[in-house]
Assembly symmetry: C2
């Protein structure tokens, strides 16, 4: 993988750490470690890294600027030269200049990680694929929480996570593990 | 509901009828009837109707122009004055002038129906919500097929459909039944 490949870290902010500390059940407890490993590998190879942060405009959201949930988690903090983009909706491509910044740099392949698997990360991946990027969704570099649907069905974090992989793979993105991505970076 | 509300029919093309005729298991067998009822109600009230059709560029796709799967299904055929928009990816907002056409007409609320529940219809709904439209996803005006994910898990059509409702509701859209929408139109 060369300079045409960027790592995207989506919404790795304190609000999720707080949710985990409050014992919310989630999938993929190893996601943060895998993201940290990918981040180190990208930095070693001097490949582009994009940090996407959610600045909610909703008054009750822990992601609102100024709230303790807004700051980035320490392990995912940007280093000089890395790009930070803030967004206000799920897709990192809407209301931002992300597409422009990627095209300017000739980036065509995106390694997508972050949270949550099914909301911001999945939406950004759907948009990326539809915009013509070679989107790679890291199956163990994302995590999901459980949810109850309007039909009353309760979906476990693992079920939510698994359905996102099925919805994305081959239609919007290639689904790969962090280890598979690392092997390509180091090749 | 007034002129600020449009009905969207997404990808109701022959390829899906052929898939159903080949006995593919799917969710929501009543979807087409519900869509037809909504279409009649919108026409009676002279409310805007947008037909979105998929013109695939993939050589093996039944949705490719010229293929027998490309034409619209008869029950969903447009009438004069209704807008037809063709797309080449899942989101009806990417590579089209759909957003511009909606904004020009002052349309702020979208009643979204079509297929498949989890691919084109869900992606269009995610984009619509993120663009600031009041997106209403018709839970029994969409349908899904089963799928096997890259993790080997087999998801039934009902499970796929149900997860889409859970992913969208309250985050990107309001999920309503066709009957609930009809009640608002007729109010």
């Amino acid at each position: 993988m060369a300079n045409d490949t960027a790592l995207l870290l989506i919404d790795i902010q304190m609000a999720f750490a707080h949710r985990d500390q409050a014992d919310a059940a989630r999938s993929c407890p190893e996601a943060e470690q895998n993201i940290a490993t990918l981040l180190t590998a990208f930095r070693e190879k001097d490949l582009p890294v994009f940090h996407i942060w959610h600045n909610s405009t909703e008054s009750s959201s822990p992601f609102r600027p100024g709230e303790p949930g807004n700051p980035v988690q320490t392990f995912a903090a940007p280093e000089p030269g890395e790009i930070v983009i803030t967004k206000q909706v799920n897709s990192a491509f809407i209301g931002t200049d992300l597409e422009e910044q990627l095209r300017e740099r000739g980036i065509t392949r995106l390694i997508i990680t972050g949270a949550t698997a099914n909301h911001c990360t999945e939406t950004t991946t759907r948009t990326a694929g539809n915009l013509g990027f070679d989107a790679i969704y890291v199956s163990d570099g994302v995590w999901a929480y459980g949810q109850r649907g309007p039909d009353g069905v309760v979906h476990s974090p693992q079920a939510v996570h698994s359905m996102t992989l099925a919805n994305l793979d081959g239609e919007f993105a290639r689904v790969m593990t962090a280890e598979e991505v690392l092997r390509e970076i180091r090749a």
